[in-house]
Each structure stands twice: as C-alpha cells, then as structure tokens.
C-alpha cells in the first residue's frame, strides 16, 4: 500500500470505509497533511471534522481537541464558509472531555465554556447547553453541590436543537446520582433507560455500569449480573468505552474475579494508547483492585500482557501488577486534584 502517494480523496475514501480506530486516524492525519501541504482549507477542514468525531468517540480526545482548535480558528477567519451547526455541536464533544487533561487549568476551561455560551447565544440557542456542560464539568472537578445547582437550572429550562438527546441527558443524571452514591435514586433514574424506553448510540451502553454497584449494594445481585452481561456485550470491542470496561472489571472483581481478569486482558492493549487520562485512570484503578483480589487466591495467575508492556516480565506476579496499576492511577488522580484544588480523585480511588 502506497500511503504517501495517495491523494486526499483516496485517503478520505479509504478512511470512510474503516471502523473507528488507529488505522482510520492515521489515514485522516495523512489527509490533513496532504490538504495542508496543498494549502486547501476546505479539505483540511473536512478531514479534521472526521478527526474530531473519531477522536471524541474512539479514545483520541487530544487529537480531537487539536483538530477542533484549527477548525474554530479557520471558522472565525473565514466567516460564512463552514457549517455553523456541526461545528457548534462538536464544541460540546470537546468540552465534554476537556476536564480529563490535568494540564488544562480551570480558568482555561471556564474561558472555553464562556466562549461556547457566547457563540451559542449568537446563533440563537439558549444557555441551557451551557448550564448542562457546566454541571458536567463541575462534577468532573468533584464539586458535586455546585454541579447539582446547575442541574436544577438545566431542568427548569426548555430543550433546544443543541441539547443532547433525551437518553443522553437522562444518563447524565444517572451518572451524577451515582457519583453522589445515591443508590436508590440512581437505580430509579436509570429505569427508563434500562427498560429500553430511552436509547441512543451510547445509551444504555454507558448507563449499565453506573447501576451495577448500586444494585449490588441494594442486595439485587441477580439483576446486576444479568445487566452486566448485557452491558458488557454493548461495550465489547469498542475502545471508546475504556472507562466502562474498567467498571466492568470492577464489578466482576466482586462477583467473578477470573472473568474480570479476562476483561482486563482484552483491553489492556487499547488502554495503553488511549488518550483520555481519566478513562485510563479508572481502568488502571479497577485493574489494580482486581490484582489485589487475585493475590488473595492460592492459585498462580499468568497474566497476558501485550508485547512491550513495562510489566512484561512480571506477568506472574499479581502483587507487583497491583502496585504498578495503582501507581499509574494515583499519579493521574493527584494531578487532577491539584488542578481542581481538592482531594476528590485520590479519595475516590481509595474508596473504589
């Protein structure tokens, strides 16, 4: 295959035919290089639109952020040249993941949120989406009370064309209640989703793991087990769901630790080149917990690790693996806490 000799159109056509993943990303990045080398802004914009979507939904949020930054810059420099709606919609994807990068300060994030608010207002959209993302970001910062206040505002306002779909919003509520450790409320809020009345491309995939732990604590394990199997099928094989694959490991650690190890082995490779630090942190933290649990067993485990993994030669020592993954998770948690100005994530990891 003659990658370097392919034209922009060839690259894009080939990329459109691939499922979301590294190979597709590479073709799109090459398409960007070809477009930029030719100075073709429209092509550069088109290829970057694809990178923003792929990056947002397949584990490359940094690539998405960079591509979006270029798009927004060109959008401002060339008024009327590009579609407003789809760009404004991608703004939400970018904001949705931006808090995962500890290097980005709260002021910078606030500035982006305000920028989005201004732009949405200029396009005639309501500030509901602004409050929705503010609620989400505050929860990401570990400020749950402040987040709840924003949620109240969101719920008092009318939805508009920029609102996430109803299933996604309901999921947002479930996620928030789960963070609050309100087990019964979490399960209740998830009901319309679990009964199939609200679905979309990512719901109930992401919702199911949110109710597994609450159900278990409420003594409803058989329900939780069934949901876990169903939910796992939905997130299987898609690197976008690393966070949730981690939560499946967490749940299975409590109910079926050997199965948890299988899930770990399946996703350890994709976790390594994942760009979302928070998703990696959760995956690593639950993996660490699983290895601690396995260490209690009398049998010896031989863990399958991908070639080149730093622990390749400790694949039989579950205690060392537990330490390795715990350290990785903690390092991220500490950075996030430092940025957020609290101890939310380090505490969260201790309580897993």
């Amino acid at each position: 295959m003659n990658f370097t000799e392919m034209s922009f159109d060839d690259l894009m056509e080939e990329a459109y035919g691939l499922p979301g993943g590294k190979a597709k990303l590479e073709l799109l990045e090459q398409a960007v290089r070809v477009a930029d080398a030719a100075g073709d802004i429209d092509q550069g914009y088109e290829a970057r639109s694809e990178i923003v979507e792929l990056g947002s939904f397949h584990g490359y949020p940094m690539k998405a952020l960079v591509a979006f930054s270029w798009q927004l810059g060109q959008y401002d420099k060339n008024p009327g040249r590009f579609d407003d709606y789809s760009l404004m919609w991608s703004y939400k994807w970018v904001l949705d993941r931006i808090s995962a990068f500890a290097e980005i300060s709260r002021v910078q994030i606030e500035n982006l949120l305000e920028d989005m608010k201004t732009r949405f207002a200029a396009e005639g959209y309501s500030s509901r989406t602004y409050h929705y993302y503010r609620a989400k970001l505050l929860a990401d910062f570990g400020e749950l009370d402040a987040s709840e206040a924003e949620w109240d505002i969101v719920q008092s306002m009318e939805r508009d064309e920029m609102s996430d779909c109803e299933a996604c919003e309901q999921h947002g509520l479930v996620e928030f209640l789960a963070k609050r450790n309100e087990d019964e409320k979490t399960v209740k809020a998830a009901e319309p989703i679990l009964k199939g009345r609200m679905t979309c491309g990512e719901v109930p995939h992401v919702t199911i793991t949110k109710v597994l732990f609450p159900l278990l604590r409420l003594g409803r394990q058989s329900e939780a087990d069934k949901l876990q199997k169903k939910g796992y099928k939905l997130v299987k094989g898609n690197r976008d769901f690393l966070y949730h694959q981690g939560e499946h490991i967490g749940y299975l650690t409590l109910t079926d630790p050997i199965k948890a190890l299988e899930v770990f082995e399946e996703y350890i490779a994709s976790s390594l080149d994942h760009e979302n630090p928070v998703d990696q942190m959760i995956f690593n933290a639950y993996s660490a917990k699983m290895f601690r649990r396995l260490a209690e067993e009398s049998i010896r485990f031989q863990v399958k690790l991908p070639a080149g993994h730093p622990c390749e030669h400790q694949s039989g020592e579950v205690e060392s693996l537990a330490k390795h993954f715990q350290q990785l998770a903690l390092a991220t948690a500490e950075k996030l806490d430092k940025r957020n100005g609290n101890a939310y994530y380090t505490t969260l990891l201790q309580q897993l």
Binding site: F3, G17, R33, A37, W70, Q108, L112, A269, A307, G308
Partner: protein, 612 residues
C-alpha cells in the same frame, strides 16, 4: 346482470391509502406481489397437509395469457381454500391491522390474516382481482371480486370445484412488465427457488417448471460437500456470481442452514453484506446483513431458516437472542471450516487468504484460538515484502512499527540495512503482532520506534569524531530551537543524506504548535498548556549520513560558513518530505535559505562565467 347471491360490502379501511402504504413504504418493489401470492399458496398447501395429509401433494400452477394491458395472470394452488366466514375474517383482519401499524406483518403469523395482506399487495399491479376458492372443509365454491375503490363482492358459485384457490389478476396500465413471461419466470425463481412444492408456469407457448426438486443439501447442508458442482451452479443461478468454493452452514437445532459462498474477489471492510435468506423456503431478504458476525465479510450466503422473525419490511431480522445465537452458530460453522482447512487442506486456506486476509484478521483479533491455528498464513507488509507470518517469524526478534507513520519514517533505511521490520500500521496488524507471542511462545516480537533504527547505523570512528567535532556542535546549535538534535553516522543507502526521526510526542507537539498559530485565543492557550507536558518528552533527531559524499563535504571544516544554512535547508527539506506541519519560523527559514543559495549560486557562476 344482478345476481341474487351477490352482496356488496365495504372494506373497513381506506383501501387506496393502504395500497399506497404497501407499495411506497413497506415493499421495495411491486414485484413482491408474486412473493405474496406464492406465500399464500404455500400457506394454503401447508394448512391442507395438516387437515388431510394422506396421499396429498401440493402444487402451484401459474398461467399467463394475453399481452400488454390485456394480459391476465392466474395463480392457482390446490391448498385448503377459504369459506365465506374466512374471507370476511381476513378482510376484517386488514381493518385491524391498519390500527396496529407496520408491526402487523411480523406479529401476525396466522394463515388467514397474512392471506388478506398478501392479496391486497396485488392491487399494486392490478385494478381487477378475482379469487375463486373452494374450501377443503366443504361448503359452496366462492368468487370474490375486489376493486381498488374499496368495494368487493362475494358470489356463491354453482357446481363442483376441487379444493384450492385461484387468483386472477388483470394487468393495470403501467404494470405490463409484471405480466411479462420472461420476468415472471425470473422472479418466481427468485422468490421460490427453494420451495418444496413444484411451481409450474404456463404461457401460450410453453409449460415449464420453475423450481427443480428441493436439493438434498437443503435438508442437510453437510451433503453439499458431495455435490460441489451442483451447489456452485446453484449459487451462480441464484446469486448471479461465479464462485469457486463454499462452506456449508448449519446450526445445532437444524432449523437454520445454508451455504456460504466464498467471494471470488477481495472486498472492503465496509462492503455491504447482502446475504440471501429464505424463511420457511420463501425468499424474505436479499440484503440481510445482520445474520452473520461482522468479521464474515468474505462470503455471500444463501441461508434458509424457520426460526427467525423478519422485520415489517421483511428484509432484515429482528435483533433478538435467537438471532444472536443463530449468528454465532453460523459464524462457528465458518470458523471451524477454516480451522479444518489449516490442518488438512492448507492450499485451500491459502487461496481463501490470498483474497480475504482482512476478514481472517478481523476474526483472529477477536479469537485467539483461531489466530493460533491460522496465523502462519496471514500476510503482513514488511521490509522483506509482503510475506506470510509463518515465514516472517523465522527471523526473531520480529520488529514491527505500531503506525504507518513510523513505518514510513524508517522503511527505506531499514530495507537498505536488510533489517526486517513489519508494518503494523494497517488495521488489526499491530494488535495481531503484539499478540503473536501469546499464540507462539517461541517468537519474540518487539515494537520498533523510528529512532531505534539508528541502532543499526555505524558509529563514526574516534578520529572522525575529532575531525567533525566543531561542525557537529555548530549543526546541533542551529537546530536546538526546533527541539531537534543532530547526529553524524554512516548508514545505507548512501543516497539518503539525512534521516529525520521523531517521537510520537514530538509529532503531536509539532501539530499542536502549528495549530496554535491559527486557532482562537482561548483554545491557543489551552493548546499551550497541553504542549508543555508534550514538549518535555518531545525530541527529534536529524541523522546525517557521512557515507553520502555531499554530507561529507558539508561537514568538512572548510565549509563551516555555509554549514548553518545547509543544516537548516536539509532540516526543512526533511520536514517537507515527511509532510510534517511547519511553523512560521521554519517557513521563514526555508525562504531565507532559498534566497541565500540562489545568491551563492549566482555569485559562483558569475565568477566562473557559468562553468565549474
């Protein structure tokens, strides 16, 4: 002429609206009226078999006469027939169905209810439908005559009729094609190729049998192996493609079976999967995509089943637990066969893989045991060419790159050093290569980073180090501000003056820096923060090849004045060759450099009068 036995009733639905729904929203083409009539006939035959099984043989007779708008079509079965109450019932069912919407077709599987909908579909091609029916349960023969305006009549007929149903359609204007003999033959075969009852088509000139006896391998797909030629011929007749190989499909319940024809050409990962599925012997879908696992895109299947539920359009199946199980078992038939080939018939496997490596890799990624058995035959691109993994793994440790970009950076140099590097950049490849030690513990694989190719470069001698010390130091200082270091080495091929390698972080950082220049203030500041972490880990190296005569001259102490410009130009050239984004500073460097060299060139040729 008024008949005393004739009563007029009204449909309980807006019939023209119903027909409109059927033809525009539910059915993909009016020709499905043939499927519906065949289905009605089959259902009637099945019902009659249950009612009086002894010595009964079902058959369907179709007759076409006349031409253009004068054409009529007769479809006759010797099935159970209908009595008057049943006729009213099916029409009433249609009334009910409109309230329940599209789901009607999939949930209502009763013979009577389906019959009515089937008959209605005929209004797509005819304004005048007559049905003559004699119930096997007794009672008078009946004639039903329907009009598209929503009226119908029922008349009791005198005399003795054999049980069964005849439907007469008169061609409506614009529907001539649906009454044309050749089309009828083709479409009847299309829908009914697997029907277990003979279908006869009679025209003014000829009588022919549409479907031969149901082949033995429909009952037991394993028998297909013994009828290879026949199965391939059937595949060509039904699917219109010439196949060379196939895999029989079956499930443990025995209720679903089929033939997976191996596509004779390579297909894209995103190619539409159009499998042809027969439900209870009748074609329901030519475009079923969800009946096989995703990885099985190298086959086109004929599948027959009696256990799946079609969606309202009857073109796909409901995604439920049963479908999931069928899909898994059908997938398993294919997987088992491939694994058997690996063991007993490697040549056959080879020919499958030569076209369909991608499909095999998609499965191998999901299934380690499959990968383990098949891996030796899977081809990978490498600096030794495209070779099967079994051959590549003879050269341990097996180096591979994780991305196309990395492979691109090193391929020339690695080839020239006869170093084996496998390209892991295409879909599934890096994943499979990193899993290789799990299926063959004797093989070591190692991900190679571009800068590691330099390990095979020849270091310069201590004397050369001394001679070039000042020049290297100078070159290094020129590129320092671009976070790029300079190394002097000897490597093949000597035509390559420099090799630029950069870490993933460095590549990402370059993109970030370039984007900062076009983005908004708020985002540029964000990118700046992200960049600080990347920048610490970001480094690039420009290797200068002392084997290259020009480089050797450039680094000679005598040319120290020109060296900075030479270094800068080669650096910019390397960036451009690699399509790396250049920031403003680098572009300025390039412009300045070109002018500089033109100036030097003109000065030199001026002095020598254009001759060396």
């Amino acid at each position: 002429m008024e008949n005393q036995n004739r009563d007029t009733y009204r449909f309980q639905v807006n019939l023209s609206g119903m027909i409109n729904i059927l033809s525009n929203h539910l059915y993909s083409s009016p020709k499905v009226f043939l499927r519906e009539l065949l289905q009605n006939g089959i259902d009637a035959i099945t019902a009659r078999q249950a009612y009086s099984p002894d010595g009964y043989e079902g058959k369907i007779h179709i007759e076409v006469s006349g031409t253009s708008t004068g054409a009529t079509l007769l479809v006759e079965d010797n099935g159970i027939g209908l009595n008057e109450a049943e006729i009213h019932e099916f029409l009433a069912m249609i009334g009910q169905s409109s309230k329940r919407g599209e789901d009607f077709l999939s949930t209502n599987t009763s013979f009577i209810g389906r019959f009515g909908i089937g008959l209605l579909s005929c209004f797509m091609v005819s304004d005048d439908i007559v049905m003559v029916t004699q119930s096997a349960k007794g009672g008078p023969a009946l004639e039903w005559r329907g009009k598209p305006d929503g009226t119908y009549t029922i008349r009791k007929l005198e005399g003795q009729y054999a049980p069964g149903t005849k439907v007469f359609l008169r061609c409506k204007e614009g529907s001539e094609a649906y009454f044309e003999e050749g089309n009828l033959q083709e479409w009847l075969f299309h829908y009914g190729a697997l029907l277990p009852y003979p279908i006869q088509l009679v025209s003014d000139h000829t009588t022919r049998l549409i479907n031969s006896q149901s082949p033995p391998w429909v009952k037991d797909p394993q028998l297909a192996r013994k009828h290879q030629g026949e199965v391939l011929a059937f595949g060509k007749q039904v699917l219109g493609e010439t196949f060379r190989d196939f895999i029989p499909l079956h499930t443990t319940s025995g209720r679903t079976g089929g033939i997976a024809f191996i596509l004779p050409q390579a297909v894209n990962l995103n190619a539409k999967r159009n499998h042809r599925v027969y439900l209870k012997h009748m074609l329901v879908s030519e475009a079923a995509s969800n009946i096989l696992p995703d990885w099985a895109f190298f086959v086109k299947c004929l599948i027959w089943t009696d256990e799946l539920q079609p969606t309202a359009s009857r073109e796909h199946f409901y995604e439920n637990a049963q479908l999931e199980q069928v899909r898994e078992e059908l997938g398993n038939s294919i997987r088992q066969e491939l694994m058997r080939m690996a063991e007993y018939d490697p040549d056959r496997l080879q020919s499958v893989i030569s076209l369909h490596a991608l499909s095999m890799k998609a499965l191998a990624v999901e299934d380690l045991s499959f990968y383990s058995i098949i891996h030796e035959w899977l081809p990978f691109e490498s600096t030794f060419g495209r070779k099967p993994l079994g051959e590549l793994k003879q050269h341990p440790p097996l180096y591979f790159t994780a991305t196309l970009d990395e492979y691109r950076q090193i391929t020339h140099v690695a080839s020239a050093q006869s170093m084996l590097v496998v390209n892991g950049g295409f879909i599934y490849d890096a994943e499979l290569l990193s899993q290789l030690p799990l299926v063959d513990p004797d093989v070591e694989t190692e991900r190679l980073l571009p800068e590691e190719v330099s390990l095979s470069f020849t270091d310069i001698t201590p004397q050369e180090r001394l001679d070039y010390y000042e020049s290297v130091r100078l070159a290094d200082s020129v590129l320092q501000k671009f976070r790029c270091q300079v190394q002097l080495r000897r490597f093949k091929p000597e035509e390559i003056p420099v090799l630029y390698t950069l870490s993933e972080e460095s590549a990402q950082w370059r993109i970030l820096e370039a984007t900062k220049e076009v983005s908004t203030d708020a985002l540029s500041s964000v990118l700046g923060s992200l960049g600080t972490t990347l920048k610490d880990a970001a480094y690039a190296t420009l290797y200068f090849n002392l084997n290259n005569p020009v480089i050797e001259r450039a680094f000679h102490p005598a040319h120290q004045k020109m060296l900075p410009s030479i270094i800068e130009m080669l650096y910019c050239n390397a960036l451009m060759m690699g399509h790396y984004p250049m920031n403003r500073q680098e572009i300025a460097l390039l412009n300045k450099g070109i002018i500089q060299f033109i100036d030097w060139g003109l000065t030199a040729s001026h002095v020598t009068g254009g001759d060396e």
